[in-house]
Amino acid sequence: MIAAVIPIALTLFAIGVLLNLYRLAKGPDITDRILALDTLMINSIALIVLADIQMQLGIIFEAALLIALMGFVGTVAMTKYLLRGDVIE
């Protein structure tokens, strides 16, 4: 049953990533683009985890953890730049 469910879940997450890319390209303001990048990061973590279950590797969690960490730091840096005009004061 898991073998049948994982392609469906991968398809749904891929549609979600496409919608995020649409918002990233269209977004009227720069905050929309930051939000789209943040959501893209979260969806890509789920994609990596599902691909890991599909391929039976069990070693890609470092990549997922790294994406989570770097995405959070990037989001905070961009919003900090918008708020203060500087990242590190």
Binding site: I2, I30, I34, I42, N43, A46, L50, I53, A68
Partner: protein, 118 residues
């Protein structure tokens, strides 16, 4: 598919978690693409996407805990990290949008910068 056989009930639970997680995350992405202004768009993915990825990681945690004969800590770590950082980043994005006075829909009540146009 696997070397060790997973019991049917556990397989059902894992499939349920993966499917519900994917559906909820897709809902968040649809909300991000379709809602009218930034503040409503901020609402959709920060809740739905986090819950969806949390469900997916929970299913993955159950799966790999059974396959590898031991609790796999990495998924729990990623889930904890996401659940801690998602409200922080959403709050900072909302602060940045209020600072930049991003346009909101006309029906919004109590807009902070409405009175000081003159």
């Amino acid at each position: 598919m696997t070397t060790t056989e997973i019991p049917f009930l556990l397989e059902l639970v894992i499939a349920f978690f993966l499917l519900i997680g994917a559906l909820v995350a897709l809902l968040g992405s649809i909300g991000l693409a379709r809602l009218p202004d930034f503040y409503t768009r901020l609402h959709a993915p920060t809740k739905a996407s986090t819950l969806g990825v949390g469900c997916t990681l929970l299913g993955s945690l159950l799966y790999f805990s059974f396959i590898n004969e031991g609790i796999s800590v990495q998924e729990g770590l990623i889930t904890l990290f996401l659940f801690v950082t998602a409200p922080v980043s959403a709050h900072m994005m909302a602060k940045a949008a209020l600072h930049r006075r991003v346009r909101c829909v006309r029906r919004t009540r109590n807009v902070p910068w409405e009175g000081d146009e003159s």
